[in-house]
């Protein structure tokens, strides 16, 4: 008899064929524990560390994007592969498309500017504020980075304090230090 897992796979395929797979997600292992990856037809819409709560992240996607959320690992194979390469130090830039719809207004503007900070480089919160044309909005830049919906792929970990210390990180301060160390080795 066909198992529920097989029926689930079949449902995911039909949903994709019918254009009903609004949010596909999977979890992958990483040096920082399991990561939740979610994508829309536009691109990667969410990356969440375990400390951020994967269930909460999925609920947020259901409310903010669409409740048509299904676990569909195959839909995120390319993202998983690029992350593997990045964590192994073999990839310095991500090619997968991102969907920044979870970041709105000023947060969106900040997140869009983060990709300008290259691999192995850092910028201070003050510099990013200047970059977005709002030099006084330093605290708001910090908030925007903390709420970045696709950390790692959009490199908010490269934004540090003016004294050069790493500062806070949604995935945990230790993860930020490790990411900066990984990129410094290259």
């Amino acid at each position: 008899m066909t198992s529920l897992a097989t029926l689930h796979d079949r449902l995911v395929r039909s949903a994709a064929d019918e254009g009903l797979l609004d949010v596909a997600y999977r979890t992958v292992d990483s040096p920082f524990g399991p990561l939740l990856l979610a994508r829309t037809p536009v691109g990667l819409v969410r990356l969440a560390f375990a400390v951020q709560g994967h269930d909460a992240a999925l609920q947020e996607l259901a409310e903010a994007v669409s409740p048509r959320v299904l676990e569909a690992p195959g839909a995120l194979d390319d993202v998983a592969r690029e992350l593997d390469e990045y964590f192994a130090g073999r990839r310095h830039a991500f090619d997968v498309p991102v969907d920044l719809r979870l970041a709105r207004g000023f947060r969106r503007a900040v997140v869009e500017h983060l990709s300008q900070i290259g691999y192995g480089h850092t910028a201070s919160y003050t510099q990013v504020a200047a970059l977005t044309g709002s030099p006084r909005a330093v605290r708001a830049v910090g908030t925007a980075c903390a709420l970045n919906p696709v950390p790692v792929v959009v490199p908010c970990h490269r934004v540090v304090r003016s004294d050069g210390s790493p500062g806070r990180y949604a995935g945990g301060d230790e993860a930020k230090r490790a990411l900066l160390a990984l990129e410094a080795r290259a």
């Binding site: 529920l4 029926l7 079949r10 039909s14 997600y25 676990e71």
Partner: protein, 156 residues
């Protein structure tokens, strides 16, 4: 506030499969399951947030099962002779499906929804029409019939 559809599949997938298998066999039951969840996924964003998701899914499953039966009936080729029934050990479950499938429709659905899908009688009444008491009676009559028709094997 809708939860991710994945949770709906995880929570109710097995129940819907039991409902489909109570009225259909093998691949037909699985087709009905797939069609049920695809239709549910399509309509899910418009489902009222306070709706009873399980009763909603069972309603769709019942409709999809009827569709599958109708399609099968249209494509069925009449045969001159029925194939001989092969009775082997382990075939008791198939006998049970036969016995359930042979019940009058109302009894069959009441038995399937209550004893296989685990729905309470007031929800079954909503699905079948009539009162909860009538649904309870139909299920009880169905079980009484099954006690007579379902071949039980005496343990040696």
């Amino acid at each position: 506030m809708h939860e991710p559809f994945e949770r709906v599949v995880a929570r109710h997938g097995a129940t819907v499969l039991r409902v489909c298998r109570s009225v259909l066999r093998g691949p037909d039951a699985e087709d009905a399951w797939s069609e049920t969840f695809l239709a549910a996924l399509r309509a899910y964003p418009d489902l009222p947030p306070d709706a009873n998701v399980e009763a909603w899914l069972v309603t769709i499953a019942r409709r999809k099962a009827v569709d599958v039966v109708r399609r099968a009936a249209r494509s069925a080729v009449p045969v001159d002779e029925l194939p001989e029934r092969v009775a082997v050990d382990g075939a008791r479950d198939l006998d049970l499906w036969d016995a359930v499938a042979a019940l009058p429709p109302k009894q069959r659905h009441a038995v399937a929804y209550h004893h296989l899908a685990g729905l309470p009688y007031d929800e079954i009444a909503t699905l079948l029409g009539g009162t909860p008491a009538a649904a309870r009676r139909a299920a009880a009559d169905g079980v009484a019939t099954l006690r007579r028709t379902y071949p039980t094997k005496e343990e040696p």
